[in-house]
């Protein structure tokens, strides 16, 4: 039982990370039906943005006090949002009416380009570490440090931070989508872009908002990832992005609540699989394989996802 609760906690905190990234896939897909492959790289840029902020502000005095955390968060979000907006403007927008294959291929190109740009040029900035290898991420007081133990269950502080970040983000997101003018405009656009345009909604702006929203949450996830795994590297976005997409599909792509639920479920399943699958195919070596097997199973049995996709197949 203790093991089960332990794995549940581990899974939830891992799932919170996936959920934060998955929202980005889902909002963008909900509006322009584009799988933004490069979203995993936005997550990576977010982490590097946070790291950069710390390098500029805290590294000289190896300052790790907790007030740096919000500053790093803002730094990460700014970097991620800026890159996401540039990407939307220069790579995706010109292809708005192209055949569906074109933006997908562009997305792969953008993804590789961003990875390589960070790998090659991050270390060239004076005073910055070489990004060709993993870079240690600063461990901030309060949110990292000795784990909290409750009744035999060990909970890492970074995990608590991640879950907290997800809760706050989810509440903010909910309020934004349902209570604000912009959020309702976004919903309208995702239901029917043409009619939304007729109703006076600036669809281009809504698309930008979707990218900004996804990027901001991905940056939060990037910071949480850095705190949790204590280092970051230019490749971190690939697998995380793939998993987050799985989570988005699991919850029902286009459905924001679904992305959150899907992320948490995927995280828990991954943690459970590691412990409870007996024999040679269990254990952490196979957990990624199981996650993708789930993706395929979902597509077979429930392609609309757990909570149902808001977007009906418009292929």
């Amino acid at each position: 039982m203790e093991l089960f609760v332990q794995q549940l906690v581990n899974g939830l905190s891992l799932g919170a990370l996936y959920a934060l990234i998955a929202v980005g896939y889902t909002v963008v897909y909900g509006i322009i039906q584009l799988i933004n492959f490069a979203h995993g790289e936005i997550f990576m840029i977010g982490a590097f943005g946070a790291l950069t902020t710390w390098l500029l502000l805290g590294s000289a005095s190896s300052n790790t006090s907790v007030w740096l955390l919000p500053v790093m968060l803002i730094g990460g979000i700014l970097a991620a949002v800026a890159v996401a907006l540039l990407m939307e403007r220069f790579a995706y927008r010109p292809l708005r009416n192209a055949p569906r294959l074109a933006p997908l291929i562009t997305a792969i190109g953008v993804s590789i380009f961003l990875q390589e740009a960070v790998r090659l040029f991050y270390g060239d900035i004076p005073g910055f570490p070489d990004a060709k290898l993993a870079i240690p991420f600063p461990q901030i007081d309060v949110v990292t440090g000795p784990a909290v133990v409750i009744g035999g269950v060990v909970i890492q502080r970074a995990a608590i931070f991640t879950l907290l970040a997800l809760t706050v983000s989810a509440v903010c997101l909910f309020i934004f989508v349902n209570r604000t003018r912009l959020g309702r405009a976004m919903q309208a656009t995702s239901q029917d872009p043409d009619t939304a345009r007729l109703m006076g909604i600036n669809v281009d702006r809504i698309i930008m908002v979707a990218f900004v929203l996804g990027a901001a949450l991905a940056a939060v996830a990037g910071l949480a990832h850095g705190l949790r795994y204590t280092n970051i590297d230019f490749r971190m976005g690939f697998l995380a992005g793939l998993k987050a997409f799985t989570a988005a599909v699991l919850g029902g792509i286009g459905n924001i609540a679904g992305a959150v639920v899907g992320g948490l479920v995927l995280g828990v399943v991954e943690a459970m699989v590691t412990t409870y699958i007996p024999g040679q195919f269990g254990g952490s070596a196979w957990k990624d394989v199981w996650a993708f097997v789930i993706l395929i199973l979902v597509l077979v049995f429930r392609p609309q996802g757990l909570l149902g996709a808001r977007v009906v197949d418009r292929a």
């Binding site: 074109a102 394989v289 395929i296």
Partner: protein, 571 residues
């Protein structure tokens, strides 16, 4: 279509036509004379440009560009364009002038980079640049005249075959020359020369003429293309180094051609295609008589090929069946996930994390050379006094594999199945309404592509000697996709060009190897933005990307009607 920006307005061209001709002629003369002067102070730069009187190969190319431009100018001046068939001589001269400027500039830049500074360029080099500049300015000033019209040209049969033979000979010696250049600067300079020649051919209408000839003598063309490819190892004087690269290019091309069926014809985006190649390679490695093989059944190679293909196709079916029912976007991501599953599984099947099948990250080394009908692929053979090494043998085998894949590709494309694929690609719902078996055809495309990749993989395993999981990562899939996008989706020639460029560039341009992926990512984005149909586009495909181009639409419709009428007549 995007127009080349105009530097000089037509009115100015009318006014300055004669002076332009004179300036260009002076430039052309300078270009023909300066190659006999040295261009660099040190013989280490490019291909020794320090000798008086004897132009180096690169200098000869500059001379050739100059002569071609002068000839085009002269013909354009004295020959009035015909009404029915028209060659745009002056337009060709313009392209030659621009090409010459780019070519000479590249050479001087390479000299400066390799020797450290422009001080290493001799007055001869500067004079050549001056000539190229004059050629460029002069040709910009002349009147281009009407565009070429060669569609109705009648070329006598013997002349057509002669042209094909000439083109093929140029291709053979050009590729042999390019492959033998170990110096990055020389390679880039040669590429820019090639670009200039191709531009001249396009602008004059020569390319159109070649297309007309190719259409008339299709069989001769294909046969001669394979003869050229077959002769290629004989140009290498027994050296196996370039043949190793050529073998890699062919493996890559064969795989890309298989992916082209999936992406180019059926329009399904497969991002884990390399996993099928890997499945084939691992199957072949495990069934080979390598000391590290983990099963005791070692059938002859022909059986191995079929088993490898079947294993890959089965995996394709397992992945494809659930995903092809839902929207196409899912396929992209599921195949991507499948690629990861494959890589992780191959890493894990090492005996500690799972059953021992692949020896994990070490993979299976020591795969023996093939032996078919007593012919050992590891031996060197001497034919007509030319030694053919190990890689030459694999080159011939792969040539055969590529030929078979191309044959399958072309036959499928021209069949009911191929037309079904085009229909699905262009509008899935409309195709379904017309009675096309959408799901069946999609799954067939997917499995067929996987099978061909498996076959290619089985040869790759033997050619490479060892198979490891880290050869089959996502980036390789992306590279394959890029070869197709670069060359032109759904075309044979385009994919061959794309695969060759993508595989050859990193081999020859070591100095960019660190920036290879960066350039490559950018290339994908820019291609999709500015030329989504690729370098050698399929017209029907081009229309999909440029729906507003009514002229193109009308031409394609006319062609379709023509072929339809021809079929009607033969029935």
């Amino acid at each position: 279509m995007r127009r080349i920006p105009r530097l000089v307005t037509p009115a100015q061209q009318e006014r300055f036509h004669r002076p332009g001709q004179i300036v260009a002629a002076v430039g052309g003369l300078l270009l023909t004379v300066t190659p006999f002067l040295p261009w660099a102070f040190d013989s280490a730069a490019l291909d020794d440009m320090t000798v008086y009187g004897y132009p180096s190969p690169l200098q000869l190319m500059a001379l050739l560009l100059g002569v071609v431009m002068l000839a085009l100018l002269a013909v354009g001046e004295w020959l009035r364009p015909g009404r029915r068939v028209r060659i745009a001589w002056n337009r060709g001269a313009k392209a030659a002038g621009t090409g010459a400027l780019v070519f000479v500039a590249v050479i001087l830049a390479a000299v400066a980079l390799e020797l450290g500074g422009l001080v290493n360029v001799t007055p001869g080099g500067w004079l050549a640049l001056l000539g190229a500049l004059a050629a460029f300015v002069g040709t910009r000033l002349i009147v281009g005249g009407p565009p070429p019209a060669v569609e109705r040209a009648k070329v006598p049969g013997w002349a057509g075959i002669l042209v094909i033979a000439a083109v093929m000979a140029v291709v053979l010696f050009g590729s042999a020359y390019a492959l033998n250049q170990d110096d990055g600067g020389t390679f880039v300079a040669f590429l820019s020369f090639l670009g200039a020649v191709i531009a001249v051919l396009f602008r004059t209408g020569g390319m159109g003429l070649i297309t007309v000839i190719a259409r008339a003598h299709r069989k001769v063309l294909i046969l001669s293309a394979f003869v050229v490819a077959f002769l290629f190892p004989f140009t290498q004087n027994g050296s196996d180094a370039n043949m190793s690269i050529a073998t890699q290019v062919l493996i890559f091309a064969a795989t890309a051609m298989g992916l082209n069926i999936v992406v180019g014809l059926a329009g399904l985006l497969d991002l884990g295609y390399i996993a099928f190649l890997g499945a084939g390679a691992f199957t072949a490695a495990i069934l080979s008589s390598s000391a590290f093989s983990t099963v005791s059944w070692h059938p002859p190679f022909i059986v191995v090929v079929l088993v490898s293909g079947t294993v890959a196709a089965t995996l394709g079916l397992i992945i494809g069946t659930p995903t092809l029912r839902v929207s196409g976007d899912y396929l992209a991501i599921v195949t991507l996930a499948f690629g990861e599953i494959f890589r992780i599984s191959m890493n894990n099947l090492d005996g500690t994390n799972g059953p021992n099948l692949t020896h994990g990250t070490n993979g299976i080394p020591g795969i023996p050379d093939l032996e078919i009908l007593g012919f050992n692929f590891g031996d060197t053979h001497t034919v007509f006094g030319i030694t053919l090494g190990r890689f030459s043998n694999y080159f011939f085998l792969l040539l055969f594999v590529v030929a078979v894949i191309i044959l399958i590709f072309v036959r499928l494309n021209n069949s009911r199945i191929g037309r079904g694929w085009v229909a699905i690609r262009e509008d899935e719902k409309a195709a379904e309404a017309m009675g096309v078996n959408v799901f069946g055809l999609k799954i067939f495309a997917f499995a067929c592509g996987a099978f061909l990749a498996g076959v290619a993989g089985s040869v790759k395993a033997h050619a490479d000697i060892s198979v490891t999981p880290d050869q089959y990562v996502f980036l390789e899939s992306a590279f394959l996709l890029a070869a197709i996008v670069l060359g032109g989706m759904g075309t044979v020639l385009g994919v061959l060009v794309g695969a060759t460029l993508l595989k050859l560039m990193p081999e020859k341009l070591r100095f960019v190897s660190d920036y290879r992926l960066l350039i490559f990512g950018l290339l994908l984005v820019l291609m999709m933005r500015f030329r989504p149909e690729g370098l050698v586009p399929n017209e029907r495909r081009q229309l999909e990307f440029h729906e507003e181009d009514t002229e193109l639409a009308a031409r394609i419709e006319e062609e379709l009607e023509e072929t339809g009428a021809m079929k009607e007549a033969t029935r």
